[in-house]
Subunit: 110 residues, 4 copies
Amino acid sequence: MAHEQFKTCIDACNACADACDHCSTACLQEDDVKMMGRCIALDIDCAAICRLAAGYMARGSEFSAALCGFCAQVCEACGQECARHQHDHCQACAQACRQCAEACRSMAAS
Amino acid sequence: MAHEQFKTCIDACNACADACDHCSTACLQEDDVKMMGRCIALDIDCAAICRLAAGYMARGSEFSAALCGFCAQVCEACGQECARHQHDHCQACAQACRQCAEACRSMAAS
Amino acid sequence: MAHEQFKTCIDACNACADACDHCSTACLQEDDVKMMGRCIALDIDCAAICRLAAGYMARGSEFSAALCGFCAQVCEACGQECARHQHDHCQACAQACRQCAEACRSMAAS
Amino acid sequence: MAHEQFKTCIDACNACADACDHCSTACLQEDDVKMMGRCIALDIDCAAICRLAAGYMARGSEFSAALCGFCAQVCEACGQECARHQHDHCQACAQACRQCAEACRSMAAS
């Protein structure tokens, strides 16, 4: 069944969305928020696409693999931007993004 | 931090959304799909509000508690409808909905 | 049919989501971004709930009215915060929020 | 500004999501609902990606064009499935999907 077969990737997407949502809020409270603009924008994009991908997979959508391929690109970009900042939430988000990108690439190739 | 403080409820929301999404797809493949109409409709509503609630909590939104109060009502209704059907996916979804409703009520009262 | 009956409120929700999404991005590019934190956070919340409400109404969900009642509260809060800032995008967003709150209250009372 | 530059495509995405959401509910009430399974599933996928694309464009996301390219594929598939059914809501949805696919392809190529 789709939702079990895809469980690893669904979990990675949910964890990444959580990390991105937390990172966007934490960035807004940093003193150097002006520097965090692209990080916040990508956090919002990434959280949204990860939650959407989790839904597609849980429904066993025929577009699951293709959407995960796209989701991996957003995660990759968000993870690279987050990795440039030393805040703990950015570093944690970068790791969640990298793990999700990898899980999504595996899904996309399946 | 919000996303850790709320982790139990976020996890319950993600699990419930997953179960609802899976249930809606499985219902569409049942022979008695005609009887599953309200179950499918509530599954779609419930998955969407659960994913939204997870996002609000992960961002530490000032509306987290209020939204969880509303989310609990949708989970309750979806769980009761699912519980009426004997399919495994409906019974599993009913349980996920009940657990999420309880977690959301706790959040709403906090 | 639901999606026609609710058309005024669906259109208001879509317009409000658009205005909020635009406002959040524009806020991130302002010099005084540090002051715009709550505005950005509420923009994100409001855009998400408005798009969800549009979906509930378009599907004729049994929770349409209740969700619109909640959506009106978020729109109200977002509109009041936006109204405090003189940026054009904030003022435009405040107006879209007020109109959406009114349309949602009508829906909730129906 | 992004949300004005992209207005045609945002409007097409919102209209398509509305039509898909309405179609999925109406399909569930048809006598031949068993035949409508793929139509319903694609309606759900298409409504979700269209609302996401509207949000990306309204925020002027750097992934707007790429997401619209993916969205066009889902709209195309959903429109072709809907076109196979004679119900008014399916025919209306097919048309909304085709228009949205075209608007998204233009965005993707820009």
